[in-house]
């Protein structure tokens, strides 16, 4: 370890005096790759349907879809976009932007669409 790294105490020491079980005992290296449950799995395991529905829980309090009409703004410039390109599925504001839209390579088109979560995901 370089001197300045030690001086700055950048690295977390592996043994802490105030802990009853050290981390290397709990997670031995290289063996048990603990798979942590993602949020979706945690929520599924919660079984909220067994409890009365008006009790607030993590899933209950989520907001409903928006009632306001969807605001359509141009994907590239951010102005208001009344037009929509059927080939690339992008929204654009005027003819100059349209020229730009049509000249974009496919990679950029997909990235602009991914901003809106409208990209085609092949998985």
């Amino acid at each position: 370890m370089e001197a300045e790294v030690i001086k700055a105490e950048l690295v977390l020491p592996t043994h802490m005096t105030f802990k009853r079980i050290q981390i290397y005992e709990k997670y031995p290296k290289g063996q048990s790759k603990v798979r942590w449950k993602q949020l979706k799995q945690i929520l599924q395991a919660e079984n909220y349907q067994n409890y009365p529905p008006d009790e607030p829980n993590y899933v209950n309090i989520e907001s409903p879809p928006s009632m306001h009409p969807c605001k359509r703004i141009c994907d590239i410039t951010g102005f208001e976009a009344p037009y929509h390109d059927p080939r690339t599925n992008l929204r654009y504001a005027n003819a100059d932007v349209f020229k730009l839209v049509r000249s974009l390579p496919n990679e950029y088109v997909q990235r602009y669409l991914a901003l809106r979560k409208a990209a085609v995901v092949l998985r």
């Binding site: 370890m1 370089e2 300045e4 790294v5 700055a8 950048l10 690295v11 977390l12 802490m16 005096t17 105030f18 802990k19 009853r20 079980i21 981390i23 709990k26 997670y27 942590w36 449950k37 993602q38 949020l39 945690i42 929520l43 395991a45 919660e46 607030p56 829980n57 993590y58 209950n60 309090i61 989520e62 907001s63 409903p64 879809p65 928006s66 009632m67 306001h68 969807c70 605001k71 703004i73 410039t77 951010g78 102005f79 208001e80 080939r87 690339t88 504001a93 049509r102 000249s103 974009l104 390579p105 496919n106 950029y108 088109v109 990235r111 602009y112 991914a114 901003l115 809106r116 979560k117």
Partner: protein, 725 residues
Amino acid sequence: MPFISKIQRQSDYNRFPSSTPIVIDNGASYFRIGWAGENEPRVVFRNIVQRPRHKSTGETVTIVGDQDTALLKYFDCTRSGPRSAFDSNVVFQFEIMEYVLDFAFDRLGTNGSRIDHPILITECVCNPVQSRSKMAELLFETYGVPSIAFGVDAAFSYMYNQQHGICEKDGLAICPGFTTTHVIPFVDGEPVYKGCCRTNIGGYHVTDNLKQLLSLKYPYHMARFTWEKVEDLKMEHCYIASDYALEARLFQKGGKEAEDKTRCWQLPWVPPPTEEPPSEEEMARKAAIRERQGQRLREMAEAKRSSRINELENQLHGLEFLLHQLGQVKEEEIPSFLSDTGYVSKQEIESTLTKVSQSLRKAKGEPKAEQVENEEKADSSTSEKYPLINVPDNMLTPEQLKEKKRQVFLKTTTEGRQRAKQKRFEEELEREKKNQQDEERRLENPELYLEQMRTKYKELYEKVEQRKRLKTNGGHTNGNSLSGGVGRGERLNAAQRERMRLLTTAAFDRGKGEDTFGAKDEDWQLYKLMSKDNDNDDDGADEDEAELARVCSRLQEIDPTFVPKPESTSLQPTNAEAPSFCPLTKEDYQIVLGVERFRCPEILFHPNLVGIDQAGLDEMTGVSIRRLPSKDEGLEDRLTSSIFMTGGCSLFPGINERLEAGIRMLRPCGAPIKVVRALDPVLDAWRGASIYAANLQFPQQTFTRADYYDKGEDWLRRYQLRYTL
């Protein structure tokens, strides 16, 4: 950076008695820890962990929080990105949580064998019981904490500000956080979770959106847009427009006001050193060097040529001597003599002699007129070489028949070659004649001739371009054509349509009986048809292209003003490629933030802009009020007259006015609406928690290890803190 991490190790751990609680604000963006009763948290850092490999020793180490990038160069950070224990405001990765807590307690100055203080830790609203229990287990088992209390950070912040008179006892707390935004109604100082509302949009999404937009707009500088830098930009420059459409129109018009609102970030840029034109001496020196090199090459070529000539002459002499000797030797001894020299017959020697003399002549550079004579001589010799051809079959032995067949074959091949040569010669003559005619025409009437050539060139060029465009646009539908109308390039041309039709009819099984494709031989002709379509196109294209090339070169010769049109590439250069063709200017290194300044925070109010189909901030208040279970009169009015904003994202300028305008749309006319912001949206949660923990009645709200194990998970699920003590 506006948010500074404090990670200095504290030294006064032992000053605090065992009853003083430790207060932790475990947020998705920052982790704050300190002692109860104080005004500021002692240790603040970003809630991320990196596990890079040390470059020289190769061991994997853990680094918590944002660290000095200068020191990070000793570590290989490519495989390990920063990892967070959170998945959208819920803690799920407790290994990382443990690293973070280790670091935090260490920097707080902990010594001793266990953490001997009660802990108040924040969590999200309606935290799933699994996450809660795992956190409790971690603290009890690994750290030996005596008692724990869980609380909601927004509630602590509300309580703190209520005590300071910012908001009333009844009110709405709006908390746009890092990954989520909550709206919680408070009645009598207690949060009513039934009326709570959560949208999964937060500062993280705003920063991410800004980062993507900038990367797409300036792909050349993509490496500059790190997460930390973009967050800085967001905190410094982003604001919320009071009316998005109006602002957008302002920028679209591009007047002076838009100019004022545009911010420009100049990246460091060094102009390249201008090259002076080489001076006279330089050029003279270079010319001399080139001259010398040319001279050397010429000498070498000369030497090689003369050595080859010598070699050939020697060979010639040897062969002549051999012939001479052969003439002198007697008849019987010819075969043995020949076997010594290595040649089979006299004719072979003669033929090698002629060949050598030919190459010698070529090397010396004499005209090839003599070659024709040699060919004629060769011709005459061939008729001698095929003696058996003219002899009828029945007079020959089987071996001789074989010999005859071989000779016939040889003769036909040589004759074929000669015929081909003749044809080529004739074609040459033809072309010469045509060129002559062309020249004459040109000399007569240069203007007209030029015109004709030009029009021919244009026509051919158009045809070739069109065919190329059809080919590429038929292939992929994401058309990249610049010119060309909507109709021409897009429709599949007739051949491709035919192919598609064939494929579909052949593949489509109508369901009646079995698939009998391939039983008959004619079926396979289908494939020939399908591939032939392609070939036809190509042949025609090649001819045209060859003609085009010829015309182009002709025009270049005779017309000084002709410039061949560059072939338009099928891929237009993107913004990234354009700068490499012309010298980079200062402007290319400027990042302009215009519309992005208010476009990115707009997603807080319209999550639809990033594809998240949930209500925005203003709508959420309406939903929250609707969800409240029991409403006495005036409660709604009381709620809206004390709307309290806290959380990191509430620092955007202009958010108060916008929210007020939005809520006014939802409420009946004349309802009182007052939007206030917390004293310090970032730290107020911790401060509220600190004051709460310092209260004498705090220990009643905690639960101990024994409680946790006795009462079980169900009790833990229903455990809620009472905020009014």
